[in-house]
Amino acid sequence: MKNKVIGNIILLVTGLSTLLIIAVIVYLISEVVIGGHHYITWDFLTKAPSDGMTGGGIFPAIIGTFSMVMIMSLMGVPIGTITAIYLHEYASKKQSFFTKMIRFAVNTLAGVPAIVFGLFGLGFFIQFIGSGVDKTLYGGQLHWGQPNLLWASLTMAFLTIPVVIISVEEALKNVPDDLRAGSLALGATKWQTIRKVVLPQSLSGIMTGTVLAISRGAGEVAPILFTGAAYFLPKLPHSLTDQFMNLGYHVYIMSTQSTDVEATKGIQYATVLVLLAITFSLNMIAVVIRYRHRMKLNK
């Protein structure tokens, strides 16, 4: 009898904890949706802010986030994919020192706080490479040695590389070894096998990794706080040396430092809603890709 009671209590406690987490997630989402959906109009999404941020839209922030994410993916996805290919296809099972080094580096990279990445962007890209380029090409004039779209995107690229690596490696693992063995037996070289047999099969994993990286990159604010994001810019970024507006950064500044926090409340909710919608849809797309790929494999 006592056993049954205890068993039920434990079931209750653990079940309630699970429920609590789920409830908080649901509450958060509904909070944001209720508070912000009035403001999501076509104008809001396509116009620039006006009236000192109390009116207008968030178009520049969307474009800025989008541009940064594009450049980030252009750099991050290839590097991540190639690293994953090395780790899975070329690294021998007996784990040479080089392989251990790379694995350790990837795990460490995954654990570095986002703000330290920002410092890295500042200390390496802006102060070292940017200043160096300025000194040699522009005779010391400040051109590349300041926060801009390029440096912020590169910083974010390295932040999201571990995400890409994990997804691509998972996809590579799911390609059966028989396929590789068959291809090699027919006379193909290792790289030919990878290029023509393994990679096409793991394309869904690469896509998943890209989408997840984009989702992470769109939401992280800490690294771009001082490597390129700005709160109000009169023009859209049209070159790599421009600063850019960003959805997450916009929410942060608007809710903590704007001159009239109450008047912009609705816009804050709406911007958060847009950011959440983008993040969620990207994550959903990744889940769907993974699911469909699994279905295809199980046929």
């Binding site: 990279l109 703000i115 410092l119 958060v272």
Partner: protein, 357 residues
Amino acid sequence: MSKKSKYNIKNSLDRKFRLGEFLIENFIKSISFLSFAVIILIFIFVFRETLPIFSPKELKPVKQEEVEMETYGDETTPTESDLSIQKRNDQAAVNGSTENQKEFKLADLAGKDWQPVSSEPKYGLLSLFIGTLKVTLLAVLFAAPIAISAALYTAVFAPRKTKEFIKPFIELLAGFPSVVIGFFALVTLATFLQDILGYQYRLNAFVGGIALSLAVIPIIYTVAEDAISSVPKIYTEASLALGANKWQTAIFVVLPAAIPGIFASLILGVGRAFGETMIVLMATGNAPLVSLGIFDPVRTLSATIGAEMAEVVFGDTHYNVLFFIGSLLFVITFVLNAIAEFYVRNKLLKRFKGEAN
């Protein structure tokens, strides 16, 4: 594998050297090396900007032109820091020259006050450390029981179909940008908690800790659930065969077996909480105080970097100290991650290899 021929003829079993393959393999290797290179670069370049504080020198007075040319972040709205930098300039101009500036000693970092922007800058990290510790501890203390119970439920008690819904749903929380959680804390959670508990300051360590736990829960949950699910079925079956019922098995057999993984999940959670910036920036009140009360505003290490780096002057002592804080964060999270990985790999593998025979 290849027979050594006495006559030095190339054996047909030897692998043929193909230039294309060789080049591609090394290209792939070099790109992979980038990840390692980046870690080294982070080490070098973050530490590089801290070096000036290790050689004793006078605090540099801020010159007017430096402020205009080299401040980062947006330059359109003058913020408080800008104004106080200007005030410092004026004060310095009034005071005369560098004679009045104190020398910066390394021991200054252990001081109590963090007032980098004032006529007598103080760089005491103690208040920041205490703030970080308070918030991190609160977050993990709150998140760990909830996440581990939820992981136990999902891995052991939940029916299969429910499990397939719960797991991805909670992993959804991991996908929330931390700005969103910070916003939620700033706008809703702070008011809610203040109404219930009735303390004085609306944004404080407690609110920050609860908000931070929202970000830490998915991490602890995912790794702990993985650890609990990975306990070999043999353990469960043996326990049930010996007459224990389901919950006795779960608590006294499965859970202890998963302890290395759960411990690792806690360490990863602490690491995440330590380095998290946006949530604490928005929800903790940002006041560097030295106090043990959890209802007082705090300022954490990462929030300090986030808030002040945009307005600091390049080359200034303040700038160097901020990078020093960043280096500390890097080293601490690095050590935490190394412990988690080392501990899990060794303890976990040993245990299962040894006992499952």
